[in-house]
């Protein structure tokens, strides 16, 4: 079940997988896939399961099935590192190519992947302006950007319910600007209370939409518990 939200006067649907759909443009946005993060660690002798790419593509296929977009934008850090493409399993590579080929596909460049691996298809752009929105990997400088949607931070939030602590990835927004959760299966998270995220929003504060199993849950900033030791996103 998705949640309808308004961002800089554009109507969007936020999905509990962490994807964002723009019905008027039939456009699907996903951030921070971090494909081949598992194999990136395997290079250094830490053998995380090699299935993160497959899992991320499975999830992507399911959201595509649900919203039937004509265009797809990956909001940067789609590949965990510059050599990720060469480590893709052949089956995963073929599947990704087919997905890209079947849609108008844009790779926004991120700090992990200045350019996607060759031969995968799709357009490459540092940002994309559409209607009243602008899509980027990292937020533009310090000035307040209305209509900006970015990834990069992998926000996550935690709240307490009946003495239990529940945490999860989340969208962060004040209605003008938005930070999307990471879509990748192995992408870690940064506390939504971190000053790096707080600095993006004006004095009015912000809210989070936390990803539940089947729907999103809205909480104001002052409802969030922090995460003990503040950590960098595992970027």
């Amino acid at each position: 079940m998705s949640t309808r939200i308004t961002l800089n006067d554009e109507a969007l649907l936020a999905d509990p997988t962490g994807a964002l759909f723009w019905p008027a443009e039939r456009l699907l946005i996903v951030a921070d896939l971090h494909l081949e993060k598992g194999s990136s660690f395997a290079r250094r002798g830490q053998f995380l399961p090699p299935y993160d790419t497959r899992e991320t593509l499975d999830r992507l296929a399911r959201v595509i099935q649900r919203y039937r977009p004509t265009r797809i934008v990956c909001l940067g850090d789609s590949f965990h590192d510059a050599e990720a493409g060469s480590r893709l399993d052949r089956g995963d590579l073929e599947r990704l190519r087919r997905m890209v080929g079947a849609h108008g596909w844009t790779w926004i460049t991120g700090n992990h992947d200045p350019a996607p691996p060759a031969g995968i298809g799709g357009a490459v752009a540092p940002e994309l302006r559409l209607g009243r929105l602008v899509l980027r990997h990292q937020p533009a400088a310090m000035e307040y950007q209305a209509g900006e949607i970015c990834g990069h931070f992998h926000p996550k939030a935690a709240i307490a319910v009946r003495g239990q602590r529940i945490s999860g990835a989340c969208f962060v927004t004040d209605g003008r600007r938005m930070v999307m959760p990471a879509f990748g299966a192995f992408a870690g998270g940064l506390d939504a209370l971190d000053p790096a995220i707080g600095a993006l929003f004006g004095r009015g504060g912000y809210r989070v939409l936390m990803l539940g199993r089947e729907r999103l849950h809205l909480f104001p900033r002052d409802r969030l518990l922090g995460f003990g030791a503040p950590r960098r996103a595992s970027a």
């Binding site: 399961p49 090699p50 299935y51 998270g189 849950h217 104001p220 030791a229």
Partner: protein, 825 residues
């Protein structure tokens, strides 16, 4: 009965030793002589003796005698203890006879704290006696020159063996023993153990892979301990586990004794009892606190003060269950139910180490059920019936760590290592497939998807032997060695920087600035988290949030539970119970009935618009938690609309909007089928288990102190890895290891299934018009315990509903909310 030292044949106890005994006014214990004789014959031995029987000296004496007669260079005896502090203390105690007899023997310690320079020197020129821990043994064995170091080894002493067997540290040590025996085939093994339920199992564990069986030597026991139950002047509470009602009586007991050890069951309880004692402490008696969250330097200070006889009492958790012989303790107080007979006996054994006088102990039940439990425990000790966990197969994550360690020491053949590993008792029945899968995991992850072939840690050379690819692998191994995976901890410091100790990260995560809690014996106010440090200030709050530590809450053992049921059934025994408890049971017999030793009593009654079901299962809290989850699922399907449940060690209570009628169907055995599997796969218990397995096996690197500060540290959520692996390769060896762990860790599931089988057709259902006296304690727990097994979305919705309720009363929020129109599609 002891033998005069001069009467012992000199080939067993040379004159120099006999004179030393005489000088100290000691006569050797018979078991010390027996150990000398066994060593002389080259036999391995298991010595089972109560604390204080000169057990450690008995273990070392043969090595001292051998080395005195024939001074050899090189490592002669390896002493392994589960505690660093114990290894250091034993070393200190051993220096004395060596010095006083003028023996030319070098004894040293080696633990994780030993400086690198000293470790290097020990490698070049090893001492004859080395005191160490299982982790350090594993590290030494991973060294390329391990075979040279251990070739001269004649004896391996394992202290507190009972505390190691059946644990992952025990698995690691068993594998290391198998390796040591290959490097030094002639070395004998000596196990030292406290009294346990099944000494045969220990002897089997110790002797695995040896040519001849282990000789068992039983130490002289002292007189039976004097144990009493403290029934306070004040009213005996219906529920609760802290035992605070009895503080005045405990204080009086401390005042009347020389030195008292006050054992409690959880760290939170330790904090509370310690504070309450100090509120009464008009005499300013030196009373200290000891638990695993306090800083190591603070714990060492308390231990030193205790050893020097400067303290009158220490309030302690299991952090003092094992360890240093103080010899000065003359009273043990156990606050709260003992939960197990063996554990209680070991705690009581910490008092009075002189064998000619009985240990003295006082049990302080914190509620009425615990009175029954204390009584049952005393009877079990009198009957000599101990409880213990049965041996279990060795863990595969530990095997993975060991294989990497072996590879670091030098290349090996898979066939040879498989044979060697099966010489370790826990791995005697290891299948070749499990071994090969673990080896594949160590080599390159062992995944069905073979994309990692390029990224190996081990490779198989043309000669068929497995090699590590480079020195980086050994570095990785050294950082990751060991089987203890601590919950992430944060340092607690006062604003001005004084460090008070460590606290679990999850507890801090639930705190808001300004919240107060009790820690290290004082009330603190949480200010903020900075890096890995929790900054606090002193507070004087009346109602602190007490640390809700997860650890330390052991469930009631099966044996003790059976005795409690029998005690309830034997009315003639009620005479010996305190008046309030007797009255309570009589009232129960009149209003409902007392649970029978076999079968299951289930009561149902309405209360405040809800319907309650209370089952007297006596299978321990963990088993009851699982039962509660399964029962509520089943009631949900039956349309009874269950609202929640709460479990104690004795009883489970479930409440619902509609009454349960068919109790037999509700408790049918088939509830352990699909529901259980579905729940297990999702449960946080399995996720936690996976995290531990992943760390031990080396999939996820440990966090090391200071590392977090670099900011470049990459942390993985093991939950993400668990979810992905479960979806894509459910049969991967690490998931198999996780399930095996959960199954043995959850002996509670086994208890549940045994109970359901036992009570089939023997359930007594009493329909009551109101709550029964025996059900009162569990109902009082409602609200103190969090309800388990509720779906995340339901909880989040609840939080959102709360929020909406708040929001609708504040007009300001209303237009913010309009930004978000919920739920479409």
């Amino acid at each position: 009965m002891n033998v005069s030292a001069s009467a012992i044949p000199a080939e067993l106890l040379p004159a120099r030793f006999a004179a030393w005994f005489a000088q100290r006014g000691w006569t050797p214990h018979p078991h010390q002589i027996a150990m000398l004789a066994a060593a002389r014959a080259g036999r391995s031995t298991l010595l089972v003796a109560p604390t204080g029987g000169g057990k450690t000296l008995a273990g070392f004496l043969p090595s001292l005698v051998e080395l005195a007669a024939m001074p050899e260079t090189g490592l002669h005896t390896l002493y392994v203890s589960p505690l660093k502090a114990l290894a250091i203390d034993i070393h200190r105690n051993l220096e004395r006879p060596i010095r006083e007899m003028g023996l030319n023997i070098r004894a040293e310690t080696r633990t994780g704290d030993t400086p690198a320079a000293k470790r290097a020197r020990q490698r070049r020129s090893p001492p004859q006696l080395l005191m160490t821990t299982p982790e350090s043994v594993a590290l030494m064995l991973s060294d390329a020159k391990a075979d040279a170091l251990f070739a001269s080894l004649r004896c391996i002493v394992v202290d507190e063996l009972h505390a190691l067997v059946g644990t992952k540290r025990g698995d690691l040590l068993a594998l290391d023993l198998a390796r040591l025996t290959r490097l030094a085939p002639g070395a004998r093994r000596v196990g030292l153990s406290a009294t346990v339920a099944d000494p045969d199992a220990l002897a089997g564990w110790l002797g695995a892979g040896l040519a001849s069986p282990v000789e068992r030597i039983v130490g002289t026991g002292g007189p039976a301990p004097e144990i009493s139950i403290l029934v306070p002047e004040a009213h005996l509470p219906w529920s609760g586990h802290m035992g605070l009602h009895a503080i005045p009586d405990i204080y009086a007991a401390i005042r009347n004794a020389g030195t008292t050890l006050v054992f409690v069951n959880t760290r939170a309880q330790a904090e509370l009892v310690f504070q309450a004692l100090w509120r009464l402490n008009d005499d300013n008696l030196p009373i200290a606190l000891h638990h695993g969250s306090l800083g190591p330097e603070q714990r060492r200070k308390v231990e030193a003060a205790m050893a020097a006889g400067r303290l009158r009492a220490v309030v302690a958790t299991s952090s003092l269950d094992l360890g240093i012989d103080w010899g000065t303790v003359d009273l043990v107080v156990q606050v709260g139910a003992p939960k197990g007979v063996t554990r209680l006996l070991q705690r009581i054994g910490r008092s009075n180490h002189r064998l000619d006088r009985p240990s003295r102990a006082i049990l302080v039940p914190s509620n009425r059920f615990e009175v029954l439990e204390c009584r049952a425990a005393i009877e079990a000790i009198r009957d000599g019936e101990l409880d213990g966990t049965p041996p279990r197969p060795g863990a595969l994550d530990v095997l993975a760590q060991h294989i990497l360690g072996v590879a670091c020491a030098g290349p090996f053949r898979a066939d040879d290592l498989y044979d060697e590993v099966r010489q370790a008792a826990p791995y005697a029945a290891l299948s070749r497939k499990d071994f090969d899968d673990v080896l594949a995991f160590v080599a390159n992850g062992g995944y069905a998807l073979s994309t990692y072939d390029r990224f190996r840690r081990l490779f198989r050379a043309a000669d068929g032997r497995w090699h590590v690819i480079g020195p980086r692998v050994a570095r990785q191994y050294r950082l990751n060695v060991g089987t203890i995976v601590e919950a992430p901890m944060l340092a607690v410091t006062l604003r001005r920087g004084r460090r008070l100790g460590e606290i679990e990260e999850y507890f801090v995560q639930g705190l808001e600035p300004g919240d107060t809690f009790v820690f290290a014996g004082q009330v603190l106010r949480f200010e903020r988290v900075r890096g890995t440090t929790v900054e606090v200030t002193r507070a004087s709050g009346d109602d602190p949030k007490v640390p809700a530590y997860a650890g330390g809450r052991l469930p009631l053992t099966t044996q003790l539970a059976r005795r409690v049921r029998n005690l309830l059934d034997a009315r003639t025994a009620w005479r010996d119970l305190p008046g309030e408890v007797r009255q309570w049971l009589r009232l129960q017999a009149w209003r409902s009935q007392v649970p029978a030793p076999d079968g299951l009593l289930v009561e149902t009654f309405p209360r405040r618009g809800k319907h309650f079901l209370v089952a007297y299962c006596f299978e321990g809290r963990n088993a009851h938690q699982t039962l509660g989850m399964l029962l509520t699922r089943r009631m949900e399907r039956a349309g009874l609309r269950p609202l929640g449940f709460v479990a104690t060690d004795y009883v489970i209570a479930v409440w619902s909007l509609r009454p349960a009628r068919d109790i037999d169907a509700l408790f049918d055995q088939d509830m352990l089928g699909d529901d259980l599997e579905a729940w297990m796969a999702e449960s946080s218990m399995l996720r936690r288990t996976f995290r531990n397995v992943a760390v031990i096996a080396g999939l996820i690197e440990r966090r090391h102190p200071g590392q977090e500060k670099t900011g470049r540290q990459v942390l993985f959520s093991s939950d993400l890895i668990y979810d992905v692996l479960r979806t894509h390769e459910p049969d991967h060896v690490l998931l198999r290891a996780t399930r095996a762990d959960a199954a043995t860790g959850l002996t509670d599931v086994r208890r549940l299934s045994d109970m359901l089988a036992r009570v089939k057709g023997r359930i007594t259902h009493r329909r009551l018009d109101r709550v029964s006296p025996l059900a009162v304690p569990v109902l009082l727990e409602i609200g103190k315990e969090s309800v388990q097994g509720t779906a995340i979305d339901a909880l989040l919705d609840e939080a959102a509903q709360e929020l909406i309720a708040e929001a609708t009363t504040v007009p300001d929020n209303a237009d913010q909310m309009a930004l978000f129109e919920a739920n479409e599609k």
